[in-house]
């Protein structure tokens, strides 16, 4: 199966997501529901119709039975009548010979004959003249209606149910008139039929069909002991209509919900009725209905199950669509935050592995002229199958020739994958291209031999998105690198180094931004030993900010040499600011390591922190505040001076270090203070320690830390050789000496000697030209050594008492004094033991290892 790549255009989301499948699924569900309802309705209607028909059939069957029974009865009675009529024309009857009739009757109607109650010949007076039973009973029957009726009408008559006079049986009587030769009615022949006496008769009439009733003219039920019909109302209806059916009515005995079917026997006008509870009549129909309804329900259930199955299948298909769409969405989102090519590769790899969990995702990224490959699989067994550089190389090389699917078994270049485990069958690969440039490859190794068309479309879209992201990442990497290098070039290459005052700075470029930031720092160690430090932040980014920053930095450097006061320097920076310049925040500090004085000024900048290493106390240098440059007037820039503790750490930083979205700046500064107090004064480590506590900084960060140790300072100043500098020099040297075991007076003596040495240099060395005076001092092995140098020419002058006094003072005040002169200048070395009472303390500080 060969894939059909979307040549000549980019993959669209419709290619790998069947957008209509959801709609289809909805329609399917609606159709299914509709179908079920229609089938259910039709089946129910049909079943109901069948039920009604069955009921009608049952009823007509019942009616048929009543009619049949009626006919049977009619026939039976007419047979009886005929039998009696045949007897009535017998000569004995016509002649009126009682005895002969008696014999005849007895012979013709044995007990077993139809007339089980016997047959009698009744005369006109109502007396029985002869009978089939012997002896003929002497009873008068004139009261009987049937007797009178037959005598009156001369026609046959069938009675309803009667109670026999002789035996009190339940009987009915069939009577026919008898005539004499002249056709005059002489009496009647009456045959009695015992109803009870012939239990089989009931069966004979009901044809094995229960609940048959024969109701006589008097409303007596002949088959059930002549009981009267208690439901007179029903009886009336039955009589009125002759025949019919009534459903859901009270039965003959008045009990509820019966079906009554009846017809009339014209002679002797009896009603044949079947009266049964409805349930027993329609039971079969109902059972049939129930069966049918059951079948319908079963059929519906099967239909429903089939529908669900179908829905599930389309659901699975749309779930596949969802997976693909999710993968695509995840990829676009993750690629948005992938800045570097390796990050893009990682995102592609992860997302691809997620999208095809039962395959191996392989991504190759062009690096130089080869492809760097990495593989990932959510199935760990498969993951191992590609944990091999040779296999990965083969995969990415083959994939670069795609888009195509290669069967692993038949592709010579994929030999290394055979037997790699996991029964791998196919490699689906395609290049990530931008124009003709190969940026990388994308590959999927699967156990299935082919890939769904939509999955292919997804792969294509991955390659497209990957190409865009890789391009962006390469460009970003180049630009970021450029920005970082530009930034570095704008920051000082090296910080001043001097004993007892160690500076360390760290600059962290914001990871996200490509453009150069506007943070900077700088430090200047002036010849006079004063260190001027500045940390600043130009708002905005890019070349504009960098230019402003460059200008400000050089302004600072220029004036740092000229001005002692940080405020004066910053005031000049204000003046050098162009109209409508960006805002700049800046903090400037001047440190005199010999007097241990710190002077600072701030313009819109967070306060520098000063840690006293002896006490662990951290002070915020939050005085001397002014608005940012660009807003502040020069006159608003002020400064404050604090004493520097003997051992201290000063930290100056830009707000990127402590500013985090959602965090209070004040709290963040406290966090930084805590970090500063517990860490070494290493700028890079401090930055990462703060990032650990507060999170990675959003913005650029500049941090400059100064570690001060008064004991380790070496006095070293270079001043213009002018009388004006001497007072300041003495003041600073005195302050420095005061921390070296010299009390006021002793320091004064040293200063007097040093002053004399300086006088020589200032007065004589340069002969009025501008020169340099260098004074350095240090204490070693309990001895103070002060060196005063100039670079002027030593001029042999005639000894004068003036000059003599200076030399005299030097020699008297110091332990020793040497003077060296050559072409390069003069060098006076003055030495004096540190007063012994404080020597021990000094030595212990100087060399703690000796204990």
């Amino acid at each position: 199966v060969s894939p059909e790549p979307l040549r000549g255009r980019s993959a669209r989301i419709e290619d790998f997501v069947g957008l209509r499948s959801a709609e289809l699924r909805r329609k399917l569900a609606v159709g299914l529901a509709l179908g079920v309802v229609v089938v259910a309705a039709v089946a129910t209607v049909v079943a109901w119709k069948l039920y009604v028909d069955a009921k009608a059939r049952d009823l007509s069957d019942l009616r048929g039975r009543t009619v049949a029974v009626g006919a049977l009865l009619q026939q039976s009675f007419s047979g009886d009548v005929k039998t009696l009529q045949a007897v009535s024309v017998a000569p004995a009857v016509v002649k009126g010979n009682d005895r002969a009739v008696h014999r005849y009757l007895a012979r013709a109607f044995p007990k077993t004959s139809t007339f089980s109650a016997g047959v009698g010949w009744i005369g006109r007076d109502g007396h029985v003249r002869a009978s089939s039973v012997s002896p003929t009973p002497r009873i008068d029957l004139l009261r009987r209606l049937y007797v009178r009726r037959v005598l009156a009408t001369g026609k046959p008559f069938i009675t309803g149910g009667l109670v026999g006079l002789r035996r009190h049986d339940e009987i009915l009587v069939v009577a026919v008139p008898t005539f004499d030769a002249r056709k005059r009615v002489t009496g009647l022949l009456a045959g009695g039929i015992v109803l009870k006496a012939r239990p089989e008769s009931r069966r004979a009439v009901d044809l094995g069909f229960g609940s048959l009733e024969v109701i006589d003219r008097n409303g007596r039920m002949l088959l059930t002991g002549l009981g009267r019909v208690s439901n007179r109302q029903l009886l009336d209806v039955m009589r009125r209509r002759g025949s019919g059916t009534a459903t859901g009515v009270d039965g003959l005995d008045g009990s509820g919900d019966h079906v009554v079917v009846w017809s009339t026997v014209p002679q002797p006008r009896w009603l044949i009725a079947i009266d049964r509870p409805t349930g027993s009549v329609f039971g079969a129909a109902r059972r049939a209905l129930e069966l049918q309804l059951g079948s319908i329900v079963a059929a519906l259930l099967i239909l429903f199950a089939l529908g669900l199955l179908l829905l599930r299948r389309t659901g699975r298909q749309s779930a596949g669509d969802d997976t693909r769409r999710d993968a695509w969405t995840r990829l676009t989102r993750r690629l948005g935050s992938a800045a570097t090519p390796p990050e893009v590769a990682e995102v592609l790899l992860t997302t691809l592995a997620d999208a095809f969990p039962d395959g191996i995702a392989v991504v190759g990224i062009a690096s130089g002229d080869r492809l760097r490959a990495s593989a990932r699989s959510r199935t760990s067994r498969l993951g191992r199958a590609t944990a091999d550089a040779a296999r990965l190389d083969a995969i990415v090389r083959v994939a670069a020739r795609g888009p195509k699917t290669w069967p692993i078994a038949r592709e010579p270049d994929l030999v290394v994958l055979r037997g790699a485990g996991g029964r791998l069958q196919a490699l689906h690969g395609l290049p990530i291209r931008e124009g003709s440039a190969l940026l990388g490859t994308l590959a999927l190794v699967t156990r299935a031999p082919a890939l769904d068309q939509r999955d292919w479309a997804l792969l294509e879209s991955f390659a497209d998105l990957g190409a865009q992201a890789l391009q962006r990442a390469w460009r970003f990497a180049r630009e970021h690198d450029l920005a970082v290098r530009l930034q570095r070039s704008l920051l000082p290459g090296a910080l001043p180094e001097l004993d007892g005052l160690e500076l360390d700075a760290h600059y962290l470029a914001g990871a996200v931004a490509v453009e150069v930031g506007g943070d900077w720092y700088d430090a200047v160690r002036r010849p006079d030993g004063i260190v001027q430090i500045c940390v600043g932040d130009v708002s905005g980014r890019g070349i504009g900010a960098a230019t402003v920053m460059g200008t400000q930095r050089s302004t600072f450097r220029a004036y740092a040499y000229e001005c002692d006061s940080p405020a004066a320097i910053v005031q000049r920076m204000v003046r050098h600011l162009e109209e409508d310049s960006q805002m700049i925040t800046v903090a400037a500090v001047g440190i005199d390591p010999y007097t241990a004085e710190l002077t600072y000024t701030r313009a819109g900048h967070p306060p520098p922190l000063l840690l006293d290493l002896t006490t662990g106390r951290v002070d915020r240098l939050d005085g001397a505040g002014a608005p940012p440059l660009g807003v502040a007037e020069a006159g608003e820039i002020v400064e404050e001076r604090v004493r520097l503790p003997d051992r201290a750490v000063l930290a100056m930083y830009t707000d990127g270090l402590i500013e985090r979205r959602g965090l209070n700046i004040d709290d963040s500064i406290d966090v930084f203070a805590a970090v500063l107090e517990s860490s070494d004064p290493d700028a890079a480590e401090l930055v990462s320690a703060v990032a650990e506590r507060l999170g990675e900084p959003d913005d650029d960060v500049a941090l400059l830390v100064v570690a001060f140790d008064a004991d380790r300072t070496r006095f070293e100043v270079e001043l213009p050789a002018e009388p004006a500098v001497l007072a300041g020099l003495r003041r600073r040297l005195r302050s420095w000496l005061s921390r070296r075991g010299f009390d006021d007076e002793e320091a004064s003596e040293v200063m007097l000697a040093v002053s004399e040495a300086c006088n020589n240099a200032v007065e004589h060395a340069y002969d009025g030209a501008q020169g340099v005076l260098r004074v350095s001092a240090e204490v070693q092995s309990g001895r103070l050594e002060v060196v005063v140098e100039d670079r002027g020419r030593w001029r042999e002058t005639k000894p004068s008492p003036d000059r003599g006094r200076g030399m005299l003072l030097i020699r008297r005040l110091m332990d020793s004094a040497e003077f060296h002169s050559d072409q390069g200048g003069t060098r006076a070395i003055l030495r004096k033991r540190v007063p012994s009472r404080r020597l021990r303390g000094q030595e212990r500080l100087a060399a703690p290892a000796r204990g």
């Binding site: 009388p723 007072a727 003495r730 007076e745 007097l752 002053s755 003036d802 006094r805 003072l809």
Partner: protein, 116 residues
């Protein structure tokens, strides 16, 4: 001139009293000489004695001494006597002792003594 260096001039009869506060070094020494000279020039009467009060001098080196010696010679030529009031600072006093100028320059213990 010089941080905290000051010369206060006071005339009492034929005495010019110059009270020096601060440090006398290469930079301020000429100023001291100038101050005394201007004091002398301003006076209408003749000045018989100049008293330089060094009590509040914190520093004095050879350039200061040279200035004082030069001033003494200059004044002596005009017949004006120079007297000094001893510095309170021990090291400053020491400068005079080491250079043995207490012989040349008349150093009084107090202003009253110098005026007396």
């Amino acid at each position: 001139v010089g941080d905290g260096f000051r010369v206060d001039l006071l005339r009492r009869r034929d005495c010019l009293i110059a009270s020096v506060v601060g440090e006398i070094d290469l930079e301020t020494a000429p100023a001291l000489v100038e101050a005394v000279e201007s004091g002398l020039a301003r006076g209408s009467d003749r000045t018989a004695r100049v008293v330089i009060d060094l009590a509040e001098v914190e520093f004095l080196d050879s350039s200061g001494l040279n200035a004082l010696v030069g001033l003494e010679k200059l004044l002596a030529g005009d017949g004006v006597e120079l007297r000094l009031v001893s510095p309170a600072d021990r090291v400053v006093r020491q400068v005079f002792e080491i250079t043995q100028l207490t012989e040349t320059l008349r150093v009084a213990a107090s202003l009253d003594e110098a005026l007396g």
